[in-house]
């Protein structure tokens, strides 16, 4: 008898048998007739049965440690660590929130400081006319001195103005005092209002060139 396609298919069926089926020799009935009569298939089946029988003897010892307890301990530890991490995350969030609150607070503080500085500077700049007025008053009380005062402005062009009511209109703070007719006020820089040529000429020609 030679090996043919039937033998090939029988071998496939034998290969598909499970370990238990081989060990217990539970051979399907539809191949048993062929196996009995075919030497190749018989030897192949015997080989597989012998292999399965020998392999079956390979037993596994019992675990030395309790696996389930170990796994659950690890998982519990993991969950605990996770919750701790979550707590840390919450703390981080709170800290971040506080920081973010601090940012506008710091910004507000800086703004307040700037405001305070600007107020101080404003006050100091407001005090300037008073000083000038005081100086002018001093010059009035002491006529021996030259009645010429200098007011420094930030603008570029220096101008010589008579201390008239027009000048008072240009610089309102000059109206706080009454300047004598001969007083000349030299303003260095541009006045707050635009200069107009309609100003009257000075009454006295007492002027001091710079």
């Amino acid at each position: 008898m030679t090996r043919n396609d039937t033998c090939e298919s029988i071998h496939i069926i034998i290969d598909d048998l499970t370990q238990d089926e081989l060990v217990c020799m539970q051979i399907p009935k539809h191949i048993s007739d062929h196996v009995r009569s075919c030497v190749f298939c018989k030897s192949y089946l015997d080989q597989q049965i012998a292999l399965a029988t020998q392999v079956e003897q390979w037993t596994v010892p019992e675990p030395k440690k309790p696996i389930c307890a170990g796994v659950m301990t690890q998982i519990t530890q993991m969950e605990h660590d996770k919750s701790v991490d979550a707590g840390l995350t919450w703390a981080k969030c709170v800290r971040l929130f506080k920081t973010r609150v601090q940012v506008p607070a710091a910004a507000a503080a800086m703004l307040l400081m700037l405001l305070a500085v600007s107020v101080v500077f404003n006050i100091s700049s407001l005090r300037r006319p008073d000083v000038l007025v005081q100086q002018i008053s001093d010059s009035l009380s002491n006529p021996q001195k030259e009645n010429t005062q200098m007011v420094q402005h930030t603008a570029v062009k220096p101008r010589i103005l008579p201390a008239t009511h027009e000048l008072s209109a240009v610089h309102p703070w000059l109206s706080q005092t009454q300047l004598p007719a001969g007083t000349m006020v030299i303003i260095l820089g541009a006045p707050p209002l635009p200069w107009t040529e309609s100003l009257p000429k000075p009454v006295h020609n007492q002027s001091h060139s710079l």
Partner: protein
């Protein structure tokens, strides 16, 4: 193959540790046997540690398990175990190579050569032979053989675990059986004699 109820898996996916403990109890023995037979335990570590690691990985990744895509839960768990075993086998190989190259007078010892009270049984010699025959197989053949013969898995399930098709599983199993039969010296004539002897 062992099956797990869907509601248990859903409970695990929602973080129920008690439900996961049920799964561990069901699978601890089969997974232990699987890892033990694959010989993937690196020196200094027990099989139990590896099995624990597999379960912890399963717990961490259980939300990724989908019945339709991954097949049965057992298949998914064994695939996870196999992947971990492969990485451990690589590490073990590297460690052994490093150790043997540093100490040429030492010979690489196998686990079965070490005295173990559990191994002092009637068929110790035979067991050692099978152990050696299986451990000599390539990883894919070894895994296929172990899953088929010791865990009664279907070709389809083994194919899912090995990430190949059923035809490949069949051929790998066939080659594994041939190799083991050669190592154990199981020839058809011997088989016939043994069968006759057993029947008497």
């Amino acid at each position: 193959m062992i099956e797990i109820a869907t509601h248990t898996i859903h409970a695990c996916q929602q973080g129920n540790t008690a439900a996961f403990a049920e799964i561990v109890q069901v699978f601890e023995r089969p997974l232990f046997a699987f890892v033990y037979r694959l010989h993937c335990t690196p020196p200094g570590r027990d099989v139990e540690d590896v099995v624990q690691e597999i379960f912890v990985k399963a717990y961490q990744n259980i939300h990724l398990y989908k019945t339709k895509e991954n097949g049965s839960f057992a298949t998914w768990l064994f695939a996870l175990g196999r992947n971990l075993c492969i990485s451990l086998m690589r590490r073990k190989k590297l460690e052994n190579e490093a150790f043997c190259s540093q100490n040429p007078k030492y010979v690489q010892f196998d686990r079965t050569d070490q005295p173990n009270p559990a191994d002092v049984l009637a068929d110790q010699e035979n067991m050692a032979q099978i152990d050696q025959a299986v451990s000599d197989l390539p990883e894919t053949q070894k895994t296929a053989f172990v899953l088929r013969h010791y865990h009664d898995m279907a070709y389809k399930e083994i194919a899912t675990i090995l990430e190949c098709n059923e035809g490949t599983v069949r051929s790998r199993l066939s080659r594994a059986r041939q190799n083991i039969a050669l190592t154990l010296n199981i020839t058809p004539s011997q088989t016939a004699r043994r069968t006759r002897h057993d029947s008497k």
